[in-house]
Amino acid sequence: MPTSHTLLALLEREPAHGYTLKRQYDERFAQTRPLAFGQVYASLARFEKQGWARVTDVVAGEGPERKRYRITPEGTNVVENWVFEPQSAGVFSTSTLFARVAVALMSGRSAQTVLANQRATHLVRMRELTGLRKGAGADGLLAISYELAHLDADLRWIAESGERLDKVPRDIAEEER
């Protein structure tokens, strides 16, 4: 779970309340979709249960009591292992795009339209990201260039697939028989 490991890594910097963690996560890692409070508190409860973090103090107030968490040495090990463990290459190919193109071909729908629609969406997102670079910090810039590079790779595949489409339906149809 990259989100919970990222939260744990934020906790490694200094002890924090759930609210502070959510704010830090949103600032650094959630360019478009803020993290739900529920996910933060669920992660913290799990960290405590697994011995990755413990409660250092509880502040009682008008609202619900606020627990402050500190990472444990076990938690630091978890972060260390997660950061350096290479990700399975398979996770980069979990996009539904290929599946949707293949289904379009098999069902007689226009795969070119699937590709064109996706291309347009990708280009709009790339334009947005390029605009977001201004004013972004170093980690923000890296996050943006990471997403741009992946969108660019998709677009190159889309362009190549568009070129191949005349041949692909026949191949798939032949395999079906």
Partner: protein, 228 residues
């Protein structure tokens, strides 16, 4: 589309001997807009740009610059119009190697008859805006590729043209340097009110621009993909 037409090609055909490069290509750019011209190698992008720039006269069809038909004009008149109303940037900048960066940027102004002192001041302002005024006195061989290409951008914009045409302007640069050059070109052309047409096969370059046009087999196939 809103805005005044700056440069347009209408049903342009062009062949080099037996090779057909353009088969009825049409494209219009309006004032201040920033357009990416994309497409595979051999699709006709550079040929269309050369027709739009008046470097090549098409076999048939029309090219208009700010409402005036230009493809029927003489080579001399087209050259003069290009000098006055257009800026051009190529992949390798095409700066004059015997001149310093600032002398290169001064060239269009001097060709247009401006005084040397005034041309130098204007050129230095642009070089400062592009953050390369510290190497203004160096020749092109003594500066980095990114610095030379930013000087090429300055030279294309120094005379405040209506449009800048750029053919793979960052094709010879690494990604990070390309970003610096593109940012400079886009922001400066916007600041000076020039439209911008950039030929590129690179999606990351196109992402800096507002509209994408695609060419295939000598025609414009996708002419209205507005990104914002």
């Amino acid at each position: 589309m809103t805005g005044t037409s700056v440069l347009a090609a209408n049903d342009v055909h062009l062949s080099y001997g037996d090779t057909v490069a353009l088969r009825g290509a049409s494209l219009e750019l309006t004032s201040g807009e920033r357009v990416a011209l994309m497409g595979p190698s051999g699709s006709g992008k550079s040929s269309l740009l050369h027709c739009l720039a008046g470097i090549i006269r098409p076999d048939s069809g029309e090219v208009t610059l700010e409402g005036t038909r230009v493809d029927t004009l003489s080579e001399r008149v087209r050259s003069r119009l290009r000098l006055e109303r257009m800026g051009v940037v190529f992949q390798f900048g095409d700066l004059v190697p015997e001149l310093t960066l600032v002398e290169n940027v001064m060239l269009p102004l001097q060709l247009l008859g401006r005084k040397k002192r005034e041309a130098r001041l204007t050129a230095m302002d642009l070089l400062a805006a592009l953050d390369i005024d510290d190497v203004a006195g160096k020749r092109t061989g003594a500066v980095s590729g990114g610095q030379a290409q930013r000087a090429a951008v300055a030279r294309a914009l120094v005379h405040r043209p209506a449009i800048v045409l750029a053919d793979e302007p960052t094709g010879s640069l690494d990604t990070v340097t390309a970003e610096v050059v593109l940012d400079a070109m886009v922001s400066l052309s916007t600041q000076l009110g020039a439209a911008l047409l950039v030929i590129t096969h690179d999606n990351l370059v196109a992402a800096h621009l507002d509209r994408h046009v695609e060419m295939r087999d000598g025609v414009v196939t996708r002419a209205a993909q507005v990104l914002r």
